[in-house]
Symmetry: C2
Subunit: 382 residues, 2 copies
DNA sequence: CCAGCAAATGCAATCGATTGCGCTATTATA
DNA sequence: TATAATAGCGCAATCGATTGCATTTGCTGG
């Protein structure tokens, strides 16, 4: 009886000759965190190689042996040490994610999508935040490389205008996928939504509601999504015969205060405006606050539409129209793209760009025509 | 020249006799992901043991050698393989975090606190979400154990009323720290805020504002924080000579819809109420919506206070008073507790319970007396 | 001038799982 | 029946870093 030998031997050594009789399982429990394939091997009476192959369902292992190994593994509560496996075949089964901040419904939902897709395939996820800080983003890339992740998924920080830190990832041959906040300056796969179409749709909706002096809140033009949203906004104006006025495009940090400032700027100017299409929900809330403070009635005098469908857009008074980006779907597609990359043959492929559709959610803030006005509670955020 | 030998040797083998002359650095770059201490050893002309010791600042290595090793490491862009190190000394330098959902300012801020504290000590963090689902929580514990994390930090899911999955963590000797949503049924270290004091303070504030029929929104009583908040609420009433009425305590899921339903329930009852202290910001927003729908004026007729200082509490009309839990500080303290556990001697210690103070933020929703009313924009969420 | 000690490194085993190669039986083929 | 093929499994090296013990070198004091 192999296990008995082992049991007596080890335990004898450990306790200096003074030992009591435990049950085997009890003994193995006492081992704590130390159950390896060798323990299984001993139990079954084969070598560790065979156990390893059995556990990995290797074709050259007989069904009978496999069964015994599996049973023994379960019996002694074996957990594979994925660190050892990782060292051996150079794959950590870890995926690194970098987002500007996790504290946004949009990003945390994407992460959720990635996580569920990856977990189902026995991959774990490491989440890092760049806080929109370039330096932190560079450090984070380094940290993930340090952790030996098998792939990295990134949404760029707002202040990232140089991409050398990604070059090194690419050069090391580590799969890299961008989502949402991407750039065209790198030859990488990416998953984005059709920002252009969404912006076009939103602007068009405002026009249909009778608004015709529509302002646009945007952020740094280095970021693709803002370019696209601006493009959609512009095109919608043109297609409806509305004059595009560059003064109506206001750039800010897209945060609450940025939105307030931009709204104040618009109010201070002499040219009139009767609607705002903002590329960010946060900025539009800031604008809402500023406008209300100045007794501007929403949506009667000014119509508002945000972007991202953050949960709080439902909480405001009035509820804000916005664009839902189907974040979970973005996450799933990003993860799927990663798995395509590691599973496919290694022939160099052209860049893949998945473009998903977004979804305009019309609430009170942009509904001036009564019969189109929708219920505030049309979607449930929880 | 050691490196030259190596270079010729390896490269010769790899390219079957057909090789070109690269620079050394260039060659090493081409190695991609494969630079180990052996490469450094070869470069410097010592063994891997020496390199390892030099890199770890071992006292028995001469300063001269250390310097050479460090320089060579930098020169060939060496990155330690922490997987190999992890395998060797059984420490992954990974910390697992489980939160109900990352999509809450409160939790993501805690995570941020933990992350920064841990990263500064060369530990990485793995974040998992339980989505308040018991089954998922159990699976997640398993996944983290699988990933060989060195410790686990948890905030319990709402539906977790059994704790066997944590027993196994404790038994394996893996440091376990609870934060915020904890239980007394386990003998574990924990970091919490003084929910009792915060609730007392909030209720007391309402009373000072002249509200005297104060309702309380709460959730499942298995969770310590809700017990404590209820206790604070009750005590404040008693201390002010206000009769405690169990009918005024309404239990729900603490989500938006739960808050709406609870508010409707209060409105439907014959007994009057003129204030609500909610143990959740989400529920109080639901209540706010429901009350406004019924033309109840806030704060004139009914005063409201939430809990957690979620960013959106500033966006509502009127802005909501709430309790700030200093989430980042909770995170830092939780991480600090973890490091105390792994660094201290291994003698069994009594359970540690860190209790931090919370901070009442008074906004319009509970400010009936003009001269106490504060500015809506008193704090900046970004 | 040599034992004795310490400083500085090297040797080799180890962590746990994986895998190419090789060795037996057993079965199939000629 | 003899040989080839194949299934089933063991041996030992390997992944990269770490570490107890052994070894070498240099120096000091008797």
């Amino acid at each position: 009886m192999h296990l008995l030998d082992y049991f007596l031997n080890i335990h004898f050594k450990q306790s200096q000759g003074c030992f009591a009789i435990f049950g085997f399982l009890d003994f193995l429990m006492k081992k704590k965190e130390k159950i390896t394939i060798h323990d299984i091997a001993m139990e079954v009476g084969v070598t560790a190689s065979t156990v390893s192959r059995a556990l990995n369902n290797h074709p050259r292992i007989s069904p009978a042996t496999k069964k015994m190994v599996l049973e023994a593994a379960r019996a002694i509560n074996y957990k594979p040490n994925r660190i050892a496996a990782a060292l051996r075949h150079g794959k950590s089964k870890l995926i690194g994610i970098i987002v500007p901040t996790i504290n946004r419904n949009f990003f945390s939902s994407i992460v959720r999508g990635i996580e569920e897709y990856a977990n189902a395939r026995d991959y774990k996820v490491m989440i890092s935040q760049s806080y929109d800080d370039y330096k932190k983003e560079v450090e984070t890339i380094d940290a993930l490389l340090d952790a030996r992740v098998d792939g990295i998924m990134v949404s760029l920080g707002k202040n990232t205008h140089s991409f050398a830190h990604f070059e090194s990832v690419i050069q090391k041959g580590i799969p890299l996928v961008f989502f949402d906040r991407t750039t065209d300056e790198l030859e990488v796969n990416q998953v984005i939504i059709d920002d252009y179409a969404a912006a076009y749709q939103a602007t068009n909706h405002l026009i249909r509601q009778g608004y015709c002096h529509i302002a646009h809140f945007t952020s740094h033009m280095k970021i693709k999504i803002y370019q696209e949203r601006l493009r959609g906004y512009t095109q919608a104006l043109l297609d409806n015969g509305i004059h595009f006025d560059a003064k109506m495009v206001v750039e800010s940090n897209m945060q609450l205060d940025g939105g307030r400032n931009s709204a104040r700027f618009l109010l201070d100017q002499s040219f009139g405006f009767d609607a705002i299409f903002s590329a960010s929900d946060y900025a539009i809330v800031g604008a809402l606050q500023e406008l209300k403070k100045n007794q501007v009635r929403i949506p009667q005098e000014v119509g508002l539409i945000g972007f991202s469908n953050e949960p709080f857009t439902e909480f405001t008074e009035p509820a804000l129209s916005t664009v839902d980006q189907k974040a979970i779907s973005i996450g799933e597609n990003t993860a799927a793209l990663f798995f395509e990359m590691i599973n496919g043959d290694s022939r160099p492929k052209p860049r893949i760009k998945k473009v998903l559709d977004a979804n305009l959610i019309i609430r009170t803030s942009s509904s001036r025509i009564p019969n189109i006005q929708l219920n505030t509670n049309s979607t449930n955020p929880e």
